[in-house]
Amino acid sequence: MAEISTAAALWGAVAASGVYHGVNPGMGWPLAVSAALMDRSQGSLWRALAALAAGHLLAMAAILFPFSALMVLAQWHREIQTGAACLVIALGLYLLWNRRHPRFLARVPPSRLVLWSFLAAMAHGAGLMLVPIYLGICRTVETDAGHAAAGTLITGNAGIAALVALLHTAAMTAAGGVLAYGIYRWVGLKFLSRGWFNLDLVWALSLVLVGSISLLTLP
């Protein structure tokens, strides 16, 4: 019973972090509003959101799949989890110390939203934040299944990685999409300067928090 609720909490965290990324204007939804207004077409809003989602999904996959491959080293799970947690904490501390935005992101042309979204997610460690959660989910599944064969484990872990990336990106896109459409259709862009909060500090702290929880809950 405890295992199921842990799993549910972890999946919930995957979706919640997606919503958190999605509502942050810095992750791109205002670009979808801009696209729709520039082209005077609602279709452009959805196309831009799809591009942002694709870039974000790629960034999640690029981080999660290497970890899923590592999971084949079943006897090293604890070390891998510790290492991942430390990595996330280190990135959080780095972002706390260096509050400047990466300038290379400003070199990406506005027409290349997939690339921009990918780079923005990578630069802010959006994928890395999911790693401790993902590893936690793998462990709950593994305990359920007992000691399965290594081959099954790999495909199982890769499948979980794909699911985590998809669920997270879906939540992000839905949250950003609701905001973008609402602003475009009803609220107006005044919301942008009123409702945009500087989450840099919160973001860095949440990386540290996720890493720390992961370390503290190691078996």
Partner: protein, 466 residues
């Protein structure tokens, strides 16, 4: 860093128009002979205030001979694009370059009435890090603060072409040159852009020997000043097209793109057509295939005048050229203001149809062999020059000096710095405000104006109004 975007950042030009009106203006003061240090004047433009129309603070620089000309903010509404990642900058610092000294001042105006110097970048650093000299126009954009220059390297600024360099928008460190492929561009003046469409437009005045000691008549008559505008892929930093406006169109200066980024056109003012002394405005636009086109859409005729009334430079022509030295576009992209510094006129054109501008209003003040007085009865030296429009489009401010040595050639007997304001009618029409007249301290002339919270030539918008 703020916790929320600076309240003076606006997503769209329309939102900027609806924001509270300016209560202060920042105007540059320059000592034409370099006998005093240049300065920044803070002018009260709040009609409800007791000190309305007065200079309420002066920040005098520690050096002489800078020659202030144009300046700009460290941050503007362009910060509201997620692409640049600078949403939480403060609009707090004015970047003021000296075009004679190549020194750059960063002035903190958080407390405008106690404005103070935050940082000074010495000329040697500008030369060493960019190979450019004589910094001029400031715009804040995707990669930080962009600064155009009028000179290349070397003593007289002709060692290599001038260009644009980028400064960090937080530390004000010079990062280096902007251009990766400048194509045919070999002179520089103004630049601006359309951020979502990712292009930049730049213009040409002349090289330093052509302006620093006064206008060179032979160069003008042999069409050696700039007459091209350049179109750039903004983020690739590449000149993609150069349009020659025709060599008789001497000195293509101010670039004013439509503020609404969904509109794909803009304007450029040309000082003088050497075939007929007309002033001209070109409309440029982007075509469906991405290439650019430009067409002359406004011409302003010279006024015949007896030679004995004219300065030596113009006596042979027996006419006063309009000398279109500055233009500015209202935030609704509806009215284009054109300063005719020679004639002594400020024109207001309705450019709702950018290919068919219509004269909607006009004010006469100053002028060569005219010296039209202000409605308050006082003199206005030179003619209307640097013009700035309030965000709401209702008030139009301007000053009178063009450039120290050129002032003396076109107006040999004049002296003094003034700033005036005209009220614009909702559907056109322009009338000088009799109660607003700022006289600058003795020995100072005045140049560009910046309005508190942004104005019509500072902010770049990332989202359309509609």
């Amino acid at each position: 860093m703020n916790l929320r975007p600076d309240p003076t950042f606006h997503a769209t030009p329309r939102l900027a128009m609806e924001a509270p009106a300016e209560t202060l203006a920042f105007t540059l003061m320059l000592s034409p002979d370099g006998s005093q240090p240049d300065g920044l004047a803070v002018v009260d433009v709040d009609p409800k205030s007791d000190s309305y129309g007065e200079i309420v603070h002066q920040l005098i620089m520690p050096n002489k001979g800078d020659e202030f000309h144009h300046f700009g903010w460290n941050a503007c509404s362009s910060s509201l694009s997620p692409l640049s990642g600078h949403a939480f900058l403060e609009r707090r610092y004015l970047i003021i370059p000296g075009i004679r000294s190549s020194r750059i001042y960063v002035v903190d105006v958080k407390e405008p009435r106690a404005a103070k110097i935050h940082k000074i970048i010495e000329p040697e650093e500008v030369f060493a890090k960019t190979g450019y000299s004589r910094p001029h126009t400031i715009h804040c954009g995707p990669e930080g603060i962009y600064v155009s220059t009028l000179g290349g390297g070397g003593e007289d600024g002709t060692d290599g072409p001038p260009g644009i360099f980028i400064m960090d928008c937080e530390t004000f460190e010079i990062l280096g040159r902007y251009e990766m492929d400048r194509g045919k561009q070999d002179k520089h003046y103004d630049f601006w852009w359309n951020l979502p469409r990712d292009y930049m437009v730049s213009s040409e005045w002349g090289l330093p020997p052509q302006f620093e000691n006064g206008i060179v008549a032979e160069d003008l008559l042999s069409n050696k000043y700039g007459h091209s505008i350049h179109f750039w892929n903004l983020r690739q930093r590449k000149n993609v097209q150069t349009i020659d406006l025709g060599e008789n169109h001497q000195m293509a200066l101010e670039i004013r793109p439509a503020h609404d980024p969904s509109k794909d056109y803009g304007f450029c003012g040309v000082v003088v057509d050497t075939t007929n002394l007309q002033g001209a405005i070109f409309t440029w636009w982007q075509q469906a295939d991405g290439s650019f086109e430009a067409k002359k859409t406004i011409t302003i005729d010279p006024r015949p005048e007896k030679p004995e009334n004219l300065p030596p430079l113009l006596q042979g022509f027996e006419a006063v050229p309009p000398l279109v030295t500055d233009i500015d576009l209202s935030l609704d992209d509806r009215f284009l203001y054109v300063a005719c510094w020679g004639l002594g006129e400020m024109h207001q054109y309705d450019v709702s149809d950018p290919m068919n501008p219509k004269l909607a209003g006009k004010v006469e003040i100053g002028g060569i062999a005219r010296n039209a007085k202000h409605p308050n009865g006082k003199d206005f030296a030179y003619g209307p020059q640097m013009v700035e429009i309030s965000r709401d489009g209702k008030r139009v401010y301007w000053t009178n000096s063009l450039y120290s040595t050129w002032d003396d050639q076109f107006y040999p007997d004049a002296e003094g710095g003034q700033m005036v304001m005209a009220n614009a009618g909702e559907n056109g029409g322009l009338e000088l405000d009799k109660d607003f007249y700022v006289e600058f301290p003795k020995g100072y002339r005045s140049h560009q104006i910046r309005l508190e919270g942004g104005d019509c030539s500072t902010d770049s918008f990332c989202y359309p109004s509609a």
